[in-house]
């Protein structure tokens, strides 16, 4: 019988060294989160399907594993944690003093093509910070990500920081019909210069606005990118986004961490729920991002409370490919299973030593 001999595609099994490495990574990252006063939340592995639809937004809902319970409710295995945590904060924790700082660690499931060392069931570990507007919470989140990388022994990493509001402010003024907006986002996310030129050629728009759209894919780099962008835009929303990014960048400069930060105004991909900053982290050895996050002030409101929120998560399966935690196996004292071996084993255990019985 197939079920007894084969595993379903998209699953994986961790044993021995791989399992120890997984737990060591999780412990390291959790200790960083706890060090910044984040408390663990252990949410359920399934909830109502609609909860996740709010979070994932259009396009990604087909990745959700759905099922129907005996009462006919549509449920889903969690494809991410953010919606679950946001719902919990708005409901169960509605009286808890703000800000609320929570971290989670566990598996999520998405029906997607396994790639980059990530199966359909994969591990995420991350934080959510509720109740703080403004740059300080954004910076806190970013600093926690930086510390986690450092504690994992990953010195060479890069965080690309963008803002939904920069692009949003530009689009407020241009107001394209939905079909064209989708097409524009598509070519921008592919950084497709040829496609963008073709698109702009079909669009009746003043030259200055076309030049802004043309520049977006290239607005990536250090502080100079912010200056360059300032020269191009006039709308308040984009200007505020740039102010915000510049303040964050300045703090990173002061803390001598700016080498890890890249301003990326061309970054417009991401879950629908992002509202402010948006970031992705990369390491040179891996072709896929290892962490992502951002601000999603709109999400808690869909569950009933208007609450600012910001967070990020690591893709643990990807970190495992680059981080090499020191795994110390405690040397086991061997007890002979003759005569008084069990007495000796108990004695060793009371002293906190590892034992391995020879059977």
């Amino acid at each position: 019988m197939k079920a007894f001999t084969q595993i379903p595609p998209g699953t994986q099994i961790l044993i021995g060294h791989a399992a120890r490495r997984r737990r060591a990574l999780e412990r390291t990252i959790c200790s960083v989160f706890e060090g910044w006063s984040y408390e663990e939340i252990v949410p359920p592995i399934f909830d109502y399907y609609d909860v996740f639809i709010k979070g994932m937004g259009t396009g990604l809902e087909e990745q959700i594993y759905r099922f129907i319970d005996r009462d006919g409710n549509i449920l889903a295995l969690r494809p991410e944690f953010t919606s679950l945590v946001a719902k919990t904060v708005v409901t169960r924790l509605n009286k808890a003093p703000r800000p609320v700082r929570l971290y989670y660690s566990g598996e999520v499931l998405r029906f997607e093509k396994p790639k980059g060392g990530r199966q359909r069931e994969f591990a995420q570990i991350g934080i959510e910070h509720f109740g703080s507007r403004g740059k300080s919470a954004d910076i806190e989140i970013l600093l926690i990500a930086v510390e986690a990388f450092e504690r994992l022994g990953i010195a060479d990493f890069q965080i690309n920081l963008g803002s939904v509001d920069f692009f949003g402010g530009i689009m407020d003024r241009i107001s394209l019909p939905e079909g064209q907006l989708r097409e524009l986002k598509e070519v921008l996310s592919l950084k497709d210069q040829s496609g963008l030129e073709a698109f702009l050629g079909r669009l009746s728009l003043e030259q200055r606005r076309k030049d802004i759209l043309r520049a977006i894919p290239h607005l990536t780099g250090g502080r100079d990118v912010i200056t360059e962008a300032r020269g191009m835009i006039r709308n308040d929303r984009s200007i505020q986004a740039l102010d915000h990014l510049e303040e964050i960048y300045a703090v990173f400069e002061r803390l001598k961490l700016a080498r890890h930060l890249t301003i990326d105004l061309g970054e417009i991909q991401g879950f629908d729920y992002y509202t402010g900053i948006l970031f992705r982290a990369y390491v040179p050895q891996l072709g896929f991002e290892v962490a992502n996050g951002g601000r999603y002030d709109g999400l808690p409101a869909t569950f009933g409370e208007d609450l600012p929120a910001v967070g990020f998560s690591f893709s643990v399966d990807r970190l495992e490919q680059i981080a090499t935690p020191k795994l110390k196996l405690s040397e086991a004292d061997v007890a002979d299973v003759n005569g008084e071996a069990f007495d000796r084993a108990l004695h060793l255990r009371q002293e906190g030593k590892a034992v391995k019985l020879c059977l």
Partner: protein, 213 residues
């Protein structure tokens, strides 16, 4: 070091010409050598030769930072890539073809049978038109399928149209105008930004020069 995946076959010589114009040259003849990995004389670029359909895979996984492949192959792969430039060569059409008189679908056929090595693009194209399709996946000599009664229609790349004609086939509908594309790994685009942007800019200038003359 920027690793560039090139597609063996019809795009290879033009890809190498483009790299040569960009100053990326090799001490041996890449197109006739049996080796698969070549370091450029500038010491900053490495070229790997792979099957055309594998270019998006190598680049998506970051085994190569960038690659040159046909748009048809890039779209069929569904790989998540940065696709910054259309290059001015390797132009061809991805088309539905069939023996004379056969249309995209016949109202009396509940399902049409289509032979192709582009299953994703084919399925999407027919489904978007409400035509149920039975895909017959082949990896080469697609134009044989109608001759042997394997399928009435094929979806394949058409360059000059000669192969089709010689096999008694005609284009029914053009799905896609394809040409060579530069593709870049999403992480390399960020972590090797200076190198990638310089490479892109050089190719962009060469490409726009070529198109204006």
């Amino acid at each position: 070091m920027l690793v560039i995946a090139l597609a063996k076959g019809r795009l290879l010589d033009k890809s190498l010409d483009l790299l040569a114009s960009a100053g990326i040259r090799f001490s041996e003849d890449v197109s006739t050598s049996r080796k698969l990995i070549f370091d450029a004389q500038d010491g900053k670029h490495r070229v790997v030769l792979v099957k055309p359909a594998d270019v998006p895979t190598y680049v998506e996984y970051g085994a190569a930072d960038a690659g040159i492949a046909g748009l048809d192959v890039v779209l069929e792969s569904r790989a998540d890539l940065v696709q910054p430039l259309a290059l001015n060569f390797g132009r061809c059409k991805l088309a539905v073809a069939a023996p004379a008189g056969v249309e995209l679908s016949a109202s009396e056929d509940p399902t049409v049978q289509v032979a192709t090595k582009y299953p994703h693009i084919t399925m999407e194209y027919f489904n978007a038109r409400g035509i149920p399709v039975e895909l017959i996946y082949l990896s080469g000599s697609i134009e044989l399928a109608p001759l042997l009664g394997l399928a009435d229609r094929i979806v394949d790349l058409v360059e000059s149209g000669r192969t089709l004609k010689e096999n008694g086939l005609e284009i029914v509908e053009v799905i896609l105008e394809s040409s060579a594309r530069l593709v870049v790994n999403r992480a390399s685009y960020q972590t090797k930004r200076a190198e990638v942007l310089k490479f892109m800019e050089t190719l962009n200038q060469l490409t726009s020069c070529a198109s204006s003359t």
